[in-house]
Amino acid sequence: MFDEAYPVHAFAASSAAIQLTVNGEKQSFSGEPEMPLLWYLRDILGLTGSKFGCGIGLCGACTVHVNGQATRACVTTMKDAAGKEVTTVEGLEKNGLHPLQKAWMQINVPQCGYCQVGQIMQAAALLNSKKKPTDQDIDEAMAGNICRCGTYNRIRAAIKAAAGEMS
C-alpha cells in the first residue's frame, strides 16, 4: 500500500552530528538538535511503531526505552538522546515475540491498537525492574499510558500473565 522504498533522509555525518544507537545500530544525526526523538524515529528512520498521540508526554503512545528506561520520545530531544541506546518496539525482541506481546495476544488486549505499542514498551520497562508487579505497581507504572478504547483491565491481566511466563 505504501512505498516501501521511502528514502531515509541522509544527513551527512559531521563532528557536530549527534551519535546514538537505535535498536543496536549506530546512527548519526546532524539535523536540528531540538527535534524530538519521536519524529527522528518516525519521519527520518521510518520506524513508525512508536506513535504520536499528544506531543507533550501525557499519553504514552510514543514510549520507547532510552538506556533501558521507559521514556516519552515526543518530549525527548535529539540532544538529550545523544550517546544513548534507544530501543523501540521494532527492537524489543530479536527472536519472535516478547512474552508481553504473546500475553497481549493471548488475552486479546488491543482494540484499535494505536496505544498498545507504547503500553507494551512501558510494561516491558516495568517488568525489567519488578518481576512480579502487584495491581498497584501496574497502575502506578501504567497510569501515564492512555488507552481511549478502554482496554486497561486486559492490559493489567496481560502484564501479570507475562510476568508469570517470564519468572
Partner: protein
C-alpha cells in the same frame, strides 16, 4: 435466525449516522464482468480465478481473498464480517487473506458508524460466501458426474460421501469459475448448527501486527517525495484569515513554504476550515514553523459564543413549551390538577472524541486524479468532498483506508482528508497533513451540549401519572444547514422519542438551539445525554417514592409489549420496525438479568458505597448496567465493579462484543469524570489531555462483567450501546453512596473526582 432480508428497502438517512446496507444486494456481482466496465482499483479478489462477488475471490492455491469494505477502528468489523463470509463458504480461516477495500460504491454503503456494520452486511456476507460454495459444489459434481445435491462441503473441501471423494477449493476454483453466478434464490444458507465461526467469533485478524508495531495507521502512511503540513485554522468557527506574515516560519530549518487554505463556503459540512498551512520536510519542522506564524483573523459572528451563557440559554428554552415530538394522553391535564410534582434540569456539555491517533491524511494529486491514504470511517464521503473540492469526478478519487487509531465517529467526517487533497493539488506533490492533539481537541465535531428538563406528577405508588421531558441541543444537521436548530428524527429517536415507559400521559418535546461550533456524532451520540437524563430522573423518582430503583424501573418499563410509534417520526436507526420492533420485554429481561448477576439487593453496602442501575436501548440493542462505587470523604470516586447485560440479537463475535462493552464502561467513565469542552468568545478552551483528561488505568472500573443474551433475533449494534446506561448507572450509584444527585456532567461540578 435472521432470514434473508432485502436490506435495500431500508431508509437512507441523509446527514444522519445510519445509512444502513443500502443496495447491498444490487452490488453483489462484479460490474466488470457484467458490463465490461473498469473499476478504479482492482483487488486481489477481483483478480482471483473464482470471483463470484465483490467481496471475495478464490485462487488455485486455495487462498481465499476476502475484501473488508468497512473500516477497522478497534471494533473488529474488518475481522468479523469476513468471518461471516468464511463461515458460509465453509472456508478454513487460516487460509483467508483479508484485504481492505478502497472507497467504492460497488461495495455498498461504507460509513463505519452507527454500530451497523454487522446489521447492515451480515446477510450480504453470507450470500457472498454461499455463492462461492454453490459454484464450487457445481464444479465438483460435474467433475465426479454426480448430482450436486449429493455433494456437500467440509473445511475448505467439497465432498461426495457416497463415493468418498474430496476436492479442495483451490483445485476446483478454475472449473467453478466457468459456472454462472447463481441467483440468491438458488442458495441455501447453512443452518445454525453447522456454523463454524458465527457466534463463536475470533480475535482480530491484525492482532499480531497490532502488538508488534507493524500495523499501518494513517499516521504511518508515507510516500516517496511527500512533504508534511501543519495547519493553523481559524480559532472561531467561520473565521477567516485577514492577513498573515510567514517571515519567521520560513526561517525554521526544514520549512519549505506556507499556503493559505480558503475558508469553507456556506455550512461547514466536511469542507476544510481554512487557515494557513506550513509545509516542511518533516512533521516537527512543520509544527515549529506553524508556531511562528503571525496571523490576523476575522472571527466572524460566532465570536459571541460562550458556554456559560449558552447553558443558561438552553435551559431557559427548556423551561418553556417546545415542539412536541411524541405525545401520549394528556400530561397537561394531569399537571393542571395539582398534586405532587417532581422536576429537574439535566445538562451535558460538549464532548470531544480524542481518539488516540490524531487526524492525519496523505494525498497525492497527479494527472487529474487524487489518491488518498487516510484513517477514515467513511471513504465514500472522502470521495464526495474531495471531488467537490478539487473539481474532479468522484471516480477519480481513490481513497485507501488505513487502520484507524480510534474513530468514535470523528473519522466519519473527512474534513482533514480534504485538507490534504487541496494542498496536494496546490503543491503538485504528495502532502501529509498531520493534526496535533491540540488541533484534534479544538477543531472537533463535538457531541452536542444538551439541556434537559423533566417534570413528573407523582401518582399511586410514586408512579408518574404524567411525564414531561424537553431536550434542547444544537443538532447535527446544523453542519449541513446553518439554519437547522431542531433535533432531527434520527437523533431525537436516540433515547428520547423512544422512552420505553408504559405511561398513560407522556409528552416528549424538543427545543431549538443554534450551533456555534461543528456538532457531530460521538460514540452513542444523543443517547449520551438522553440516556443520562431519563435514567437518572427515573432514579430520582424512585427515591422520591421511597422505592427500590430496580423495582421502580421495571414498573415503569411495564409488561412486555411492542412500542407503538404511530404519529412519531421514528427512523429506528434505519431498520424496519417489522424486522426490528421495539420490544420492552427484551429491555425488561436485560434489566432483570443484570440485577440478578450483580446481586442487586442481596449485597450489603457500607457507608460511602452504593450501586446504581440504568437500562437503555440504542442502535437496536437492549442494555442494562449496574455500577458499584466507593466514594471517600474527599469525594474521590472509585468503581470496583460494573455488570452489564445486553441483548444485541444474534452476536457474531462474542469476544469482540465483550471487549466493546468493557471499553464502553471506560469511555463512559471519561464522559462522567472529566468530559467537558467549553468555549469562550467562540474559542475552545481545552487543548490536550491536561485540560481534556480521559480515564486512565487507575480511574476506570476495576472489573467489568459482560453478559450476552443468547438470541436468534436479527443482529444489532455493539460498538456504542454500552456507553449511555453506564453513565446513568454510575451517577445513580454516586447518589446511593452519597445522597448527592449529579444532574450536571461531569461529576467534578459537584465536587467529585
Amino acid at each position: 435466525m435472521s432470514g434473508i432480508e432485502n436490506v435495500s428497502r431500508r431508509r437512507f438517512l441523509t446527514g444522519g449516522i445510519v445509512a444502513a446496507g443500502a443496495l447491498v444486494l444490487g452490488v453483489r456481482y462484479y460490474p466488470k464482468l457484467a458490463a465490461g466496465g473498469k473499476v478504479p482499483h482492482d483487488t486481489n479478489a477481483d483478480r482471483a480465478t473464482l470471483h463470484p462477488s465483490v467481496y471475495l475471490g478464490i485462487v488455485p492455491d486455495g487462498t481465499v481473498w476476502i475484501v473488508a469494505h468497512r473500516s477497522e477502528m478497534g471494533t473488529t468489523s474488518r475481522t468479523t464480517l469476513p468471518l461471516v463470509v468464511a463461515d458460509e463458504l465453509d472456508a478454513d480461516w487460516k487460509r483467508v487473506t483479508i484485504e481492505q477495500a478502497i472507497g467504492d460504491a460497488r461495495y455498498g454503503e461504507q460509513n463505519t458508524d452507527g454500530s451497523h456494520s454487522i446489521r447492515g452486511f451480515y446477510t450480504a456476507m453470507r450470500v457472498a460466501g454461499a455463492t462461492a460454495r454453490f459454484m464450487l459444489i457445481q464444479a465438483a459434481a460435474r467433475q465426479w458426474d454426480v448430482p450436486a445435491a449429493e455433494c456437500e462441503t467440509d473445511l475448505h473441501v467439497v465432498v461426495h460421501r457416497a463415493t468418498n471423494r474430496r476436492a479442495g477449493y483451490g483445485e476446483l476454483a478454475t472449473a467453478a469459475s466457468r459456472f454462472p453466478v447463481p441467483k440468491q434464490e438458488e442458495l441455501k444458507l447453512k443452518p445454525k448448527s453447522a456454523w463454524r465461526y458465527i457466534g463463536k467469533g475470533s480475535v482480530s485478524y491484525d492482532l499480531e501486527a497490532l502488538v508488534t508495531g507493524k500495523a499501518i495507521y494513517g499516521m504511518d502512511a508515507r510516500m516517496d517525495g511527500m512533504v508534511y503540513a501543519s495547519i493553523e485554522r481559524p480559532p472561531v468557527l467561520g473565521g477567516k484569515v485577514k492577513s498573515f506574515d510567514d517571515k519567521e516560519p520560513l526561517k525554521v530549518a526544514g520549512v519549505r513554504q506556507t499556503v493559505a487554505i480558503d475558508p469553507f463556503q456556506g455550512a461547514p459540512a466536511f469542507q476544510p476550515l481554512g487557515g494557513v498551512a506550513v509545509i516542511a520536510d518533516n512533521t516537527w519542522a512543520a509544527f515549529q514553523g506553524r508556531k511562528k506564524l503571525n496571523i490576523s483573523w476575522d472571527n466572524g459572528p460566532n465570536e459571541t459564543y460562550s458556554s456559560d451563557s449558552y447553558q443558561k440559554e438552553l435551559q431557559a428554552t427548556s423551561h418553556n413549551p417546545c415542539k412536541v415530538v411524541r405525545n401520549v394522553g394528556d400530561a397537561d391535564a394531569v399537571f393542571a390538577k395539582g398534586g405532587k410534582v417532581h422536576e429537574a434540569d439535566y445538562y451535558v456539555p460538549l464532548l470531544a472524541h480524542a481518539a488516540m491517533e490524531p487526524l492525519v491524511a496523505l494525498a497525492e494529486f497527479k494527472n487529474g486524479k487524487a489518491t488518498l491514504w487516510a484513517p477514515t470511517q467513511n471513504p465514500q464521503a472522502v470521495q464526495d468532498i474531495v471531488s467537490k473540492e478539487l473539481g474532479i469526478a468522484k471516480e477519480d478519487v481513490i481513497c485507501h483506508v488505513t487502520l484507524l487509531g480510534g474513530g468514535f465517529g470523528r473519522k466519519s467526517k473527512p474534513d482533514y482528508v480534504a485538507e490534504a487533497a487541496v494542498l496536494s493539488k496546490k503543491l503538485a506533490r504528495p502532502v501529509k497533513v498531520v493534526w496535533t492533539r491540540e488541533d484534534d481537541i479544538k477543531f472537533d465535531y463535538y457531541n452536542a451540549v444538551a439541556s434537559m428538563y423533566f417534570k413528573a406528577a407523582l401518582g399511586t405508588n410514586g408512579k408518574p401519572a404524567a411525564w414531561l421531558q424537553r431536550s434542547v441541543f444544537p443538532p447535527i444537521p446544523s453542519i449541513f444547514d446553518l439554519n437547522a436548530v431542531y433535533g432531527d428524527p434520527g437523533h431525537l429517536q436516540q433515547g428520547w422519542t423512544d422512552i420505553p415507559y408504559d405511561l398513560p400521559n407522556l409528552r416528549v418535546e424538543n427545543g431549538p438551539a443554534k450551533a456555534h461550533v461543528r456538532i457531530g456524532w460521538l460514540r452513542s451520540v444523543a443517547n449520551i445525554y438522553h440516556g443520562f437524563g431519563i435514567q437518572c430522573f427515573t432514579d430520582e423518582l424512585a427515591h422520591a417514592a421511597g422505592r427500590d430503583p430496580l423495582d421502580y424501573l421495571l414498573d415503569l418499563i411495564g409488561q412486555p409489549r411492542t412500542i407503538d410509534f404511530k404519529g412519531v417520526e421514528y427512523p429506528n436507526y434505519g431498520a424496519s420496525l417489522e424486522t426490528y420492533p421495539w420490544e420492552t420485554g427484551r429491555l425488561r429481561h436485560v434489566t432483570q438479568l443484570v440485577a440478578e448477576k450483580s446481586g442487586w439487593g442481596k449485597r450489603k453496602h457500607a457507608k460511602g458505597t452504593g450501586v446504581g442501575i440504568a437500562a437503555h436501548k440504542s442502535f437496536l440493542t437492549y442494555v442494562a448496567t449496574v455500577v458499584e462505587v466507593e466514594v471517600n470523604d474527599q469525594g474521590e470516586v472509585r468503581i470496583p465493579r460494573v455488570d452489564t447485560a445486553l441483548d444485541a440479537g444474534l452476536v457474531v463475535n462474542p469476544e469482540a462484543t465483550r471487549a466493546q462493552f468493557e471499553g464502553a464502561a471506560v469511555f463512559g467513565t471519561s464522559v462522567a469524570r472529566s468530559g467537558e469542552i467549553t468555549a469562550t468568545k467562540g474559542v475552545i478552551n481545552q487543548s490536550n489531555f491536561q485540560d481534556y483528561p480521559v480515564a486512565r488505568i487507575n480511574e476506570v472500573p476495576a472489573q467489568t462483567n459482560v453478559y450476552i443474551v443468547d438470541s436468534d433475533a436479527p443482529p444489532a449494534g455493539v460498538g456504542e450501546p454500552g456507553v449511555p446506561p453506564f453513565i446513568a448507572a454510575l451517577c445513580n450509584a454516586i447518589f446511593a453512596a452519597t445522597g448527592k444527585r449529579v444532574r450536571d456532567l461531569p461529576i467534578t461540578k459537584l465536587g467529585f473526582s
